[in-house]
Symmetry: C2
Subunit: 149 residues, 2 copies
DNA sequence: TGATTTTAGTTAAGTGCTTAACCAAATGGG
DNA sequence: CCCATTTGGTTAAGCACTTAACTAAAATCA
């Protein structure tokens, strides 16, 4: 047993400690959200696709979608196929460019969001609201600084 | 297109916005750390096992290990086998309880940490240090409040 | 204009985790 | 005691993602 090494792993300098706490805290909160979706027989990645489509007015290309939600090109393909089969999105050919396809959220897809998003956000917000508005603004400012770097 | 729904997904209330920013920021930072390990032909989960062993004095049961690093019981089994084959840990039978096995980090395992941990922490800290010590303490306090809830 | 390169998307193979099912050893209440 | 239950660990099957390989269409340019 190397005692110096044990010391090293045990007493963490501030930046390292903050990083680990960031990771653990986020994991817990993400779990709240994902558990909600799972209980509905859904999952976060599928929902993020539908949400992103709504943000952009209902219609997007798969590649843009993949980039926005931070997933690989092959994976977006695999995610879209079941969404299409379940009627939550439509996949149409691009009118001018034969390589592209155009993804559109259907009414069913929109209904799914309307019926599930508010309760999900409610559950997450309940956890976030251990912090008051002032603290949330502080947190947001710090995170944005970190994120840009 | 349901315009009310589009409004709903576009303008996020403060707690929801803070949550999303938390998730995105953490993902970016985790990526810094994971990329480092990947470049060394390693990965975070394997390293966390070795680190956790060091914290506890070099020796632990698989079940405790699984719990500490937040992974399932079957997965710890799967992770330990290659670590054992590579000589980074040892798996011994528990002297009194025939069900248990005792995991011990080897000298090789300790050497691996000594040679890689500092550079990894250095890279992560470089990103975290966009915040000064005062700000890091603030962040840490906010995160701890969130994490307990 | 026709050959070469780039872009969009899918399919195939592989990785890292999960849940479910299982085995063996230990525990605990009649 | 001894049988039912619990506990620790592994094995098997499945899921969500990745990287690599491929196909087809469009863009570039000599």
């Amino acid at each position: 047993m190397n005692d110096d090494l044990q010391q090293y792993v045990l007493d963490l300098p501030l930046p390292t400690l903050a990083f680990f706490t960031l990771v653990e805290t986020t994991a817990k909160l993400v779990d709240v959200s994902e558990s909600y979706w799972k209980a509905q027989g859904l999952n976060g990645a599928r929902i993020r696709i539908l949400v992103e489509l709504m943000k952009e007015g209902g219609t997007m290309l798969p590649s843009k979608l993949a980039q926005q939600i931070g997933v690989t090109k092959p994976n977006i393909s695999l995610l879209l196929t079941p969404l299409e089969n379940e009627g939550l999105i439509r996949r149409d050919n691009h009118p001018r460019d034969g390589r592209k396809s155009v993804i559109t959220i259907t009414n069913e897809g929109q209904h799914l969001l309307i019926h599930n998003l508010p309760a999900n956000r409610q559950q997450v917000s309940a956890k976030m609201n251990v912090l008051n508005d002032e603290e949330l603004k502080q947190l947001l400012a710090l995170l944005r600084k970190l994120k840009e770097a």
